[in-house]
Symmetry: C2
Subunit: 355 residues, 2 copies
């Protein structure tokens, strides 16, 4: 059966990427060896790594603008720490808009003064704070562009004279933005870019080298930059599949092309959530709603078993909401086709006729 | 052409594992989804992770002995730091037997007093130091069991009242040992266990929780233990393929069975290196020689081009030595068949007839 994969991450990848990934595992480019059993210092893998790095910059339109792309390990959770080590001298500002931004803040607190510039915790993170006052003399300001669990997303970003650091794990490569407003972007691959196991870091070189603390080698961006993202053995397969996904996105027309599809998907689903009396969006303010993760609940609890059975029978996977929110979460990352959202919307309409 | 893959790492994996890995990428266990696009919280992946963790303990005969197995990210290079954070209160001892042990020592130096207990640097690391005096009151002692670059290997391990920490990246699961003599073992997967992108950590629980320093979450073994090795999204595919490789090893008869094959391979090659006047082993003392990585040079430099052409024509891959040693390095990890070593030995004999 055709599956409609709404998993929040690791999540759906393009079918053509899955096929090429499997081919590369069996025999990479006809060299009679698997991509996972060749040296990372081989010409073949160096090409993969360089390709992935330059595609990332190209798609974000950051080529030639003083940025470097790295494919590291350890997830965004390791970047919470790396950001701190590389940028925090005395004081940084954090926006607290959900579980992941709170975790980032918590890791940083051991290394300097961390100011919570704004928080939406008072309403279980169901909105994006506005009109944020940013004090002068911050070493950097940190935010999470898309809150996977709660389904909110920054549409505009606060201005700061300090470097702007953004965790884009769940919406990178999904929408056009002026990416030069960020000085450091990081993103775990497993939502919009590839399989779990690698993390993209895009950093403006000029913000580095300004702290006095000792930085451990594996957390030091300048070490990774000086070694072309191969200070130690990189996560070969996750980088390879990320490269394939970025190639797929480029062939499709890049971020402007996928943004249009993503808007169509999100509009289709949110319109149904708002129209159908059996459903209620978790995020009341439509401008704060995530185009990637739509969170919603049933208005009648007694319909739960019926609805759950219906979407499962339709081949839908991964629709259960996170325990912090309850209800449902439809993750509509780049690789999810419009057809899958249409299938979900049809199930929602069908539930209405049965209720 | 059939390739004989002597790559030092990432390195050869069993053919059956490669096939199952590719199958899992296309459609995992018939669920109509790829292993790389399902949630790491799904029943399917939790089973993979738990399987991999318990197989690791079972094969090392450490089940029920107070140890926990974790599959983390960041390579052995991240463990250099994690070991320090988790175990170093004031003073630790390091054995310096090659590039990687020196790097481990260097990372630790920023966090306490590090004593180099012994070093073989005086002879470009071509031997294993013996009769090491271990002072009392160390927080731990650290060593590298197998030196991939230089081709040396500890056959017996120094005794210490302090916890013994061992980087086994290049010989884990290759030979029978009393693994209870170690309190912490770590190993990057990409040699004897799986693809690049995950690192096995096997730790005796009772050595943890004794330092006063703050440990960042991602480096804290107790955090990872409390979350069953899923504090954050784990590297799904590398863990999956590591599990497949550990299953292959178990089916084969475990470590005792593979040790016999590894001994046969190493004996075959070292006998030829010692017999053939055209070759010279880099490690003079046979008891210090690695059963995993045999390092050797030509005795006549002018034969280099001929020899290189001959082994490449025989389908041999990855035989060039590391720049620190020069010459050649034959890495004979678990998945390399005896047939591949026989092919190399035949080429060496053939060179002799031509010289």
């Amino acid at each position: 059966m055709k599956k409609h994969n709404f998993s929040a991450g690791p999540s759906i990848l393009p079918a053509s990427v899955i096929q090429k990934a499997a081919d590369g595992v069996l025999n990479y480019n006809g060299i009679d060896l698997s991509i996972i059993e060749i040296s990372h210092r081989s010409a073949e893998f160096i090409e993969v790594m360089e390709n992935a790095r330059s595609l990332a910059l190209e798609l974000l339109e950051l080529e030639g603008k003083g940025y470097t792309a790295l494919f590291l390990q350890g997830g965004a959770s390791t970047q919470f720490l790396a950001v701190t080590y590389n940028l925090l001298e005395s004081k940084a500002g954090y926006l607290n808009t959900g579980t992941w931004s709170a975790k980032a803040l918590k890791e940083a607190q051991h290394y300097g003064e961390i100011i919570e510039l704004a928080s939406s915790k008072d309403a279980n993170f169901n909105y994006i704070p506005k009109n944020i006052l940013v004090p002068a003399n911050l070493d950097y300001m940190h935010l999470t562009s898309n809150n996977t669990i709660f389904g909110t997303q920054f549409k505009e970003f606060p201005k700061s004279t300090a470097p702007l650091v953004c965790d884009m794990s769940s919406d990178i490569f999904s929408r056009t933005l002026d990416f030069t407003q960020f000085d450091l972007i990081y993103a775990g691959a497993q939502k919009n870019m590839g399989p779990a196991g690698t993390t993209l870091v895009v950093v403006k070189d000029e913000i580095l080298g300004k702290v006095s603390r000792h930085i451990p080698s594996m957390l030091d961006y300048q070490v990774h930059i000086s070694k072309d993202s191969m200070f130690n053995t990189p996560p070969v397969f996750p980088v390879f599949v990320s490269m394939l996904t970025l190639e797929w996105l480029k062939d499709l027309g890049g971020i402007p092309a996928i943004e249009k599809v993503n808007n169509d998907k999100a509009n289709l689903l949110y319109n149904e959530i708002d129209r159908n009396p059996l459903f209620k969006g978790f995020v009341p303010n439509s401008e704060d709603r995530s185009m990637m993760n739509a969170t919603f609940t049933l208005t009648q609890d007694n319909l739960k078993d019926t609805f759950d059975q219906m979407w499962k029978e339709a081949g839908i996977n991964g629709l259960n909401g996170h325990r912090s929110v309850g209800g449902y979460r439809a993750s509509m990352y780049n690789a999810l086709p419009l057809e899958s959202v249409a299938t979900l919307v049809n199930v929602m309409k069908h539930l209405e006729t049965k209720a």
